[in-house]
Subunit: 202 residues, 2 copies
């Protein structure tokens, strides 16, 4: 236990995810030794996030304008919507450079035990986007890219049921299978089972 | 790349030691979801550290008063001084519960290549502490507990030379050897060599 402000800072840093007591101590002593403007920049960044971050009115990802960069881009395909849980998932799909459509961020996944039901997610907004033509273009495909875990799968199942009523709409799900560069020997049964049932004819 | 304040916060967090881009993103999205008072507490802790942290006038460790808790404690043995590099080393020795004396924090180790010479460390203060009797008590032993690396060893050698002139003063160095719970097979030659030369008669 240190005395005074240093211990307070260590305590606060230790509450952050992935920062244990040792890292918190290391960061605190680092901040003790840096120039004050460095700390000010971190403080100001915190202040701006605390003051509220804007979310895109269309897809719901973090944005600094009313429409995010992707929704505002006329070159993106308006007929395909990729549904993800979190803004970081948008970045993950973007990094593949394989997807040219637009996104819809749910803001989480169905998790009744934690009190997250369909009303807590941006599902109504998704249905509205598909129902109303977007800029005069019909949405032809919805790719469900929720996480391949219990909550994500439940959300996908729920979405499939909700989207069944739209005529002519294709609903797809990201493929599950062996990760590239992986080893068959070390794959768990569930993943290997999915890879088998989802096998592709060559 | 995110837009606006979130990316700024990720950039600032990514500059902290031990926080990579993935951790920075995780912390930023965590902070997006917490209550504002939580962020305020972190901001205020940063502000207080930025405004300056007090150091104990005797030993030089971080403190919230003029004298730190250890130097102010009359039960601590005033005849023994343990010399360490950093305030965190004080905590490390305290955790052993083996040491009942007081400390002296040098504020680093000799490292001429980085421009750290004897004048940049609190060596003059150490000599003054030993020269002037502390509260009427002579210092009888100085334990040099600098890190067992190049800079720490150089500092220890330098201190031994400086302290040689004090009559009746014992100067000792922390033992080097195999870490407890370690394995002889995996010890490096230097450590094993030190363990051999420092062997104890049973």
């Amino acid at each position: 236990m240190y005395e005074g402000p240093v211990q307070d800072l260590i305590d606060e840093l230790g509450k952050l995810p992935g920062v244990g007591p040792k890292s918190a101590q290391r960061i605190a002593f680092h901040l003790l030794s840096v120039e004050p403007p460095e700390i000010d920049r971190l403080k100001n960044a915190l202040q701006r996030v605390r003051d509220g971050v804007q979310f895109c009115v269309v897809c719901g990802t973090v944005s600094d304008k009313e429409h995010c960069r992707i929704c505002a881009d006329p070159r993106r395909d308006r007929t395909v919507i990729c549904v993800v849980e979190e803004p970081k998932d948008v970045q993950a799909v973007e990094r593949t450079r394989e997807f040219k459509g637009r996104y819809h961020v749910l803001g989480g996944a169905l998790d009744p035990l934690s009190g997250v039901g369909p009303d807590q997610l941006r599902i109504r907004e998704l249905l509205a986007r598909i129902g109303n033509q977007e800029d005069g273009v019909d949405v032809s495909e919805v790719i469900i890219a929720t996480d391949p875990n219990t909550e994500g799968e439940a959300t996908a199942t729920y979405l499939v049921r909700m989207l069944r009523d739209f005529p002519g709409l294709t609903v797809s799900r990201l493929a599950s299978g062996l990760p590239m560069g992986g080893d068959l020997e070390f794959a768990d049964e569930l993943t290997l089972g999915r890879a088998l049932s989802g096998r592709r004819t060559l």
